[in-house]
């Protein structure tokens, strides 16, 4: 373990100890059962109001009183950041558990504007293909199980139970296909985040610092920027769509791009 690794471990342990302290303060300042807000609530009644910070500080032991507002702020921020934490976990898991496909996708995105256009165009084609096939499959399923039976239709003369089974199986197929596409997109998003972090840290002002930044941190920087842009009010969904398109394009190019170079022509 070299000095840099030791520093990273030390940094991780310090962060972990800090968060453990916040969790400990959360247990010490937790309200008695039946008072204040519950830890988890879902229902039709309104969520009970939280106890004021000043009240919690008075109840808390003297040494931790100054930290209580900070702990409350972290708690509120963590609740709001659940989506970001989920994306971060997904990208991290893809980087660790799917390293070969991520590396291949990252490799496929290396290059100039021609490569970027190729990856992006491939991804857009895949997105449109998925959207159109999903829509057509849905139309096929719904037309098979609804309306009066007519000759020549898939649901002709089939009993209702069979139609229902057909619909459920079809919807399950769609869900499985979407989940598969989601996993593929997650691998691509991890590669795209890494690539975006590369581009950011490769700028002239950051290049000296960027060469020292570990690659997982580069990917985290990239996915953070993507998440922030995708959460923007007006252009957010558009940026999310572009990101998914680029991600799918990276995976497909990595999977099929090299093979197509050596494959015999179809015609």
């Amino acid at each position: 373990m070299n000095q840099r690794d030791a520093l990273l471990v030390l940094f991780g342990v310090v962060i972990a100890v800090g968060i453990a302290g916040l969790l400990a303060i959360g247990t010490v300042t937790a309200p008695p059962r039946g008072e204040g807000r519950p830890s988890f609530y879902f229902g039709q009644g309104r969520v009970p109001q939280s106890r004021p910070i000043e009240f919690i500080q008075r109840q808390a032991p003297e040494p931790i009183r100054p930290i209580v507002p900070f702990q409350r702020g972290v708690s509120d921020s963590a609740r709001d950041a659940a989506g970001y934490l989920l994306v971060l976990l997904g990208v991290s898991a893809a980087l660790v558990l799917g390293r070969e496909p991520v590396l291949a996708s990252y490799h496929a995105t290396l290059g100039g504007w021609r490569t970027q256009a190729r990856v992006f165009g491939t991804g857009l084609a895949v997105v449109l293909l998925i959207a159109s096939s999903t829509f057509l499959l849905t139309v096929l399923l719904l037309s098979a199980v609804s309306g009066p039976p007519q000759p020549g239709r898939p649901g002709f003369d089939s009993p209702f139970a069979l139609q229902s089974l057909f619909l459920q199986a079809g919807l399950l197929t769609v869900v499985v296909a979407v989940a598969f596409a989601g996993i593929v997109a997650l691998i691509g998003v991890a590669a795209a985040s890494w690539r975006l972090g590369d581009a950011i840290l490769g700028t002239r002002f950051l290049s000296r610092l960027g060469s020292r930044v570990p690659a997982p941190l580069v990917a985290v920087i990239g996915v953070t920027l993507i998440y922030l842009l995708a959460a923007a009010p007006a252009v957010g969904p558009f940026i999310a769509l572009l990101t998914v398109a680029y991600a799918l394009g990276a995976v497909v190019t990595a999977r099929l791009g090299h093979a197509s170079e050596h494959a015999p022509a179809l015609s």
Binding site: M1, N2, R4, D5, A6, L8, V9, G12, V13, A16, I19, A20, L22, L23, A24, G26, T27, R33, R37, P38, S39, F40, Y41, F42, G43, Q44, G45, V47, V74, S75, D76, S77, A78, R79, D80, A82, L85, L86, L88, L89, S92, A93, V96, L97, L103, Y106, H107, L110, G197, D198, L201, G202, G210, S211, V213, P214, A215, P216, L217, V218
Partner: protein, 148 residues
């Protein structure tokens, strides 16, 4: 100028070294040589010990906090999930309210992060966190392989 016949993916400045290395007469290493080298490599680079420390430091307090939450407020979780399933079965309306303690979210997320760090430590063949440092341009941080 003689034509280069080596690996086609080498840069111009790498070809001279490749010529020198390729000119060396291949000699079979003695039996057990590879095992000895790999033994020394493993001895010099312990298997991601630091990553296990970080994973434990992240996971253990979070697990303890969640265990305390379940023991102290477990019925809140059961009631909330029951209400959520009932609302999903009946068609959830806009009058449903939801709240979760942010520290619970943080603790669960930290357990996920710790799991990923532990998985990386377990899957790394050698080095793990101590493997060749991650490089933005060129070296892959997983196993030190050249990217380009």
């Amino acid at each position: 100028m003689d034509q280069y016949r080596g690996a086609p993916d080498l840069d111009m400045d790498e070809r001279s070294l490749d010529r020198v290395l390729a000119a060396a007469t291949p000699v079979a290493p003695p039996i057990g040589f590879r095992d000895e080298v790999m033994r020394r490599v493993r001895a010099e680079r312990p298997r991601a010990f630091g990553e296990w420390i970080v994973a434990a430091a992240l996971a253990l307090p979070s697990l303890a906090y969640l265990a305390w939450q379940l023991s102290a407020n477990g019925s809140d979780f059961v009631d909330g999930l029951s209400n959520a399933f009932a609302a999903a079965a009946q068609g959830a309306g806009a009058e449903e309210f939801f709240f979760v303690d942010g520290l619970v979210v943080l603790a669960v997320a930290l357990i996920g992060v710790a799991s990923i760090v532990a998985a990386h430590a377990a899957l790394s063949p050698v080095g793990g966190a101590g493997a060749e440092p991650a490089r933005r341009t060129g070296t892959n941080w997983f196993n030190g392989a050249k990217l380009r």
